[in-house]
């Protein structure tokens, strides 16, 4: 069983892992970082997305041994403090961008990478990035709205400002 070194969320971990262990399982089971979720294990759903050397990748399509010596960030590292959320997280909350929350960590990691890149992403890049994540609860509109808000990309017709969006009923 090879010994590997993972630099996870700023800490160095030395682990013995079986050759075949997926990075998802190493993070979740060996390091207790269960915020990285497992939704399909064939790279489609995006729930397991983490940052590997600052780039969003599928942890389920990465062997733990492949990550030996590399820097990893997971959703647990994103918020700056107990009191404060990262702007990406805050926008997700403010826009009701999550319901069950299972897919959310992967989306947060992809958006975090966009947030950190030097050139601010345009709407198309944001939409392309989000299309790499499946969400079954929200219908996506509020996630897209949150992304555009957090990444400073105005003008998206989200629920809060969609033309024709109305609450006309009594009691509102």
């Amino acid at each position: 069983m090879p010994e590997i070194t993972l630099h996870v969320n700023g800490l160095e971990h030395r682990l013995d892992v079986p050759d075949r262990m997926l990075l998802t399982d190493a993070l979740r089971q060996r390091l207790g970082l269960t915020g990285t979720h497992v939704g399909c294990e064939h790279g489609v759903c995006g729930a397991c997305t983490i940052l590997l050397d600052d780039q969003p990748v599928r942890a389920c399509l990465t062997l733990a041994v492949q990550a030996d010596g590399h820097r990893i960030r997971t959703v647990e590292s994103v918020a700056p403090s107990e009191e404060e959320l990262h702007p990406v997280q805050q926008a997700m909350r403010d826009c009701h961008g999550l319901q069950c929350g299972f897919c959310t960590p992967g989306i947060v990691m992809s958006l975090l990478a966009l947030h950190e890149q030097e050139e601010p992403p345009g709407p198309e890049e944001i939409d392309e990035t989000l299309s790499g994540h499946l969400c079954r609860c929200t219908g996506y509109r509020n996630i897209t709205e949150a992304a555009h808000r957090a990444l400073g990309c105005a003008g998206h017709a989200g629920p809060a400002d969609a033309a024709g969006h109305e609450h006309e009923g009594a009691g509102r």
Partner: protein
């Protein structure tokens, strides 16, 4: 009940941000697979590769010998100590229904592992328990199972043939369910009609596909061996009864807890063999065990939904007033009838929709096939009914040469005619009644949002790009929501000032922590952040049903509301005693009970709770009433009827067959809304699932009974890129059937999109050229329609 309860003030009606989000956004959600359970073993299942086969031999020797394998079980290994799976709660039929319509519902207990026979691909044959999932999957490959294939049976209509293979040995046919509903004289009505359309529509097979798959983890109480079961379930209390009943344990020794649940949509609202097998293994081995379903298991071995065939006839007079509806429906139940009348009866009572139809002749039959069982999924029989009815309405409108929305307008139940009776009996034994609604207003607004006149002008004026065709379609529905029989709610004021709320409902993303806190806070008069909701735990409250059937705000919400009001009365009485005033002179504001004319003399509810706490306050009672706590079971008289109109403008590329939704509009009525942000989120999520089924998703079986959509490469859940421009509009007609005036809304969004989009695509391609009879409208299927139109053939019933 005080009149204040109806007042629109306070937290109800405001978009409070969700209490759930902070933990979920930080990766601190605790889903089933996230729970740290020391030394837990992992399960995996040998599953049938055949649709239908005798099991002649099972050899576990090599698997059991593999290092790391702890146990391997066949049905023969366990059959003496367990019962077969049988969902008693789903099978209860009210006496009135039994008498009135004499339904056939042939119950079918299911062996937990294959009993010499497999009847669908993916059926569990052997359970492996190993040190981890990797080893368990290695062991699966070492199990040798001998199969003797039998003829597969996939098509539900073929299942009714006299020479069809029999799915359940010992029965004469595959008919497991038959229900009928009639009103008036159908033959006379059809004979007198000016217009009659008769069509066959198919609703294809879906998978609910929550992002978190199912899972079960079991720990043993080290003291008495009782089972603590964590399950990714929508219905913990029902699961407790099923586990206890199947394993022949006292239900007091089984605690079921639903941790954070990553979506359910109905798929997690039924109980499965794995839900019972894992507790069995833990009990037998004396060890903690866990099973986390993988995605292929979820697609093939968790329940499917929606597959129905409708032979529908719609008749109208010369003015387009509906005279009669006949619908003969066959539901593909798959290989087991576990949920009885739920879906068939929902289909029966929802095909009528928002229309006045004097004569009804409805029959729904459920048949068994060698496919995965189908159970309720978001809409639960309604999207299928709406697809048939709303397609038929469009065909009728075309036959008459009038706009589809005009035909609908002529037949809607008028708001002044509410409550409206359809003439059918509902599944709860009452006569089906639409309690309230304004269907014409739904339609009027929808037509405006869709700008149908503009679309027609562009269609006439060729205002589309070359090769593209523009279309508009709509669909309307009603939905009986807030199903009984009951839900529980308990409210307790603790001496530390916090308010503990418990209920049998169980959230899978519906923001219960937030919305039930809004209800409780308003009822009592305390701030939102003082409320702690505990749900999804059989140890927190003794009885409950769970979160299914668009029911939680209606049933649990009202239970919590009523318990909260009762607690409020207790607080007022205690404060009146303490302050020497009359309760009527007191108000509760921000958690302080105070004289209205002397607010500074108020007492915090914490102090009032402490007064009651035994031992803390000398002289207080230790008998009943020693706590400020009330528990209520809300039993709705019958369902409340929510309603909506959906529509879409689409552009179809005739060269590629791709459908682009240019805009999707919803006008929705779910009564009083507790949290508009959350309500909108529920509707919008449902709409996207409906769009998924309309255009992308299908669980397809080959004629050999092999499922073809076994990964996320083939079962196509839509992404953000497929989310269309969207308008969501609400009207609010309150329900008089419950104190809060609410109706359910969890399922509604998913009900209409398949019909609305099929109507829009047919409108684009030309209703004279093509006839859409089934979905999903994949590029390939759309091209088939176009090809059939140019060749004159009807390609759709392939």
């Amino acid at each position: 009940m005080s009149a204040e309860a109806f007042a629109d003030q306070g937290l109800i009606g405001t978009s409070v941000l969700r209490k759930e989000d902070d933990a979920l956004l930080r990766g601190r959600g605790r889903f089933l697979a996230d729970l740290v359970i020391p030394d837990s073993l992992e399960a995996a299942f040998v599953r049938s590769p055949h649709a239908h086969a005798k099991v002649t031999r099972i050899d576990l020797e090599a698997a059991r010998a593999l290092p790391g394998v702890v146990a391997a079980y066949t049905w023969d290994d366990i059959r003496d100590t367990v019962s077969e799976l049988f969902l008693e709660a789903e099978m209860r039929i009210p006496e009135q229904v039994k008498e009135a319509i004499r339904p056939l519902s042939r119950l079918q207990p299911v062996p937990l592992l294959a009993d010499g026979l497999v009847t669908c691909v993916g059926q569990a044959v052997v359970m492996i328990i190993a040190v981890d999932r990797y080893v368990a999957e290695d062991a699966i490959e070492l199990v040798e199972v001998g199969y003797e294939p039998l003829p597969p049976l996939v098509d539900p209509l073929a299942a009714l043939d006299a020479d069809a293979p029999i799915v359940v040995p010992g029965t004469d046919d595959n008919l497991a369910i038959s229900v009928e509903g009639r009103s008036g004289d159908i033959e006379t009505a059809l004979a007198e009609a000016a217009y009659v359309v008769t069509e066959r529509y198919r609703s294809h097979r879906y998978v609910a596909s929550p992002m978190e798959t199912r899972g079960v983890a079991v720990m043993l109480d080290p003291r008495d061996g009782g089972l603590t079961v964590f399950a990714s379930t929508q219905t913990p209390h029902r699961l407790r009864e099923v586990i206890a009943g199947t394993l022949r344990l006292d239900s007091g020794r089984v605690r079921v807890t639903a941790p954070d649940i990553g979506g359910g949509f109905g798929q997690k609202g039924v109980q499965y063999v794995e839900d019972v097998l894992l507790p069995y293994a833990a009990h037998r081995l004396g060890r903690s065990v866990r099973w986390v379903e993988d995605r292929t298991e979820n697609l093939t071995s968790s329940s499917h939904a929606r597959e129905q065939v409708h032979d529908i006839t719609l008749a109208a007079d010369a003015e387009g007033r509906l005279l009669a509806l006949r619908d003969d429906v066959v539901i593909n139940l798959g290989n087991a009838n576990l949920t009885g009348l739920v879906v068939p009866y929902n289909t029966l009572t929802h095909v009528i929709g928002p229309y006045v139809i004097p004569v009804l002749d409805l029959r729904v039959r459920g048949v068994l096939t060698t496919t995965m069982m189908t159970t309720p999924y978001r809409g639960a029989g309604r999207p299928e009914a709406v697809f048939a009815m709303e397609r038929a309405m469009d065909r009728l409108a075309r036959a008459m040469g009038i706009e589809p929305h005009e035909l609908r307008a002529r037949n809607l139940v008028r708001p002044e005619k509410m409550p409206h009776r359809t003439g059918l009996m509902y599944r709860d034994g009452t006569m089906q009644t639409y309690d309230s609604g304004d269907f014409p207003e739904l339609l009027r607004r929808l037509v405006g949002h869709l700008k149908i006149d503009e679309v027609r002008a562009r269609q006439r004026g060729g205002g589309t790009a070359p090769g593209k065709r523009l279309g508009v379609g709509l669909a309307m529905y009603i939905e009986g929501t807030g199903l009984g029989p009951f839900e529980s709610g308990s409210v307790t004021v603790l001496p530390n000032g916090r308010v503990r709320v418990a209920t049998g409902a169980s959230s899978q993303g519906q923001a219960h922590q937030t919305v039930f806190a809004q209800v409780a806070a308003d009822a009592i008069g305390v701030p939102l952040d003082r409320i702690d909701l505990i749900e999804g735990d059989t140890a927190a409250i003794g009885h409950g049903v769970g979160t299914i059937a668009s029911r939680s705000m209606v049933t649990a919400g009202n239970a919590i509301h009523l318990a909260g009001l009762a607690v409020r009365e207790r607080l007022l009485a205690d404060a009146a005693e303490a302050l020497g005033t009359a309760p009527e002179d007191l108000e509760i504001v921000d958690g302080v009970v105070r004289p209205a004319d002397k607010p500074e003399a108020g007492i915090d509810v914490a102090a009032l709770a402490a007064r009651r706490a035994p031992l803390l306050v000398p002289g207080t009672s230790t008998g009943p009433g020693a706590m400020i706590s009330e528990t209520t079971f809300f039993k709705p008289p019958t369902v409340t009827v929510a309603s909506a109109a959906h529509g879409a403008v689409v552009e179809v590329d005739e060269r590629t067959g791709k459908v682009e939704i240019l805009s999707y509009a919803v006008v929705h009525d779910c009564g009083r809304v507790v949290n508009p942000m959350v309500a909108d989120g529920q509707v919008t999520g449902g709409v996207m699932q409906g769009i998924g089924g309309a255009l992308y998703e299908e669980m397809e079986y080959g004629p050999d009974g092999q499922p073809r959509s076994v990964t996320y490469m083939d079962y196509l859940v839509p992404t953000a890129a497929e989310a269309p421009p969207y308008v969501l509009d609400h009207i609010e007609t309150r329900s008089a059937l419950n104190p809060l005036g609410v109706k359910g809304l969890g399922e509604g969004g998913a009900i209409a999109p398949p019909a609305a989009l099929a109507n829009a695509v047919e409108d684009a391609l030309g209703p004279d050229r093509v006839h859409i009879t089934r979905g999903p409208l994949t590029p390939s299927r759309v091209k088939d329609l176009i090809r059939g139109a140019s060749s004159g053939a009807s390609p759709d019933e392939r």
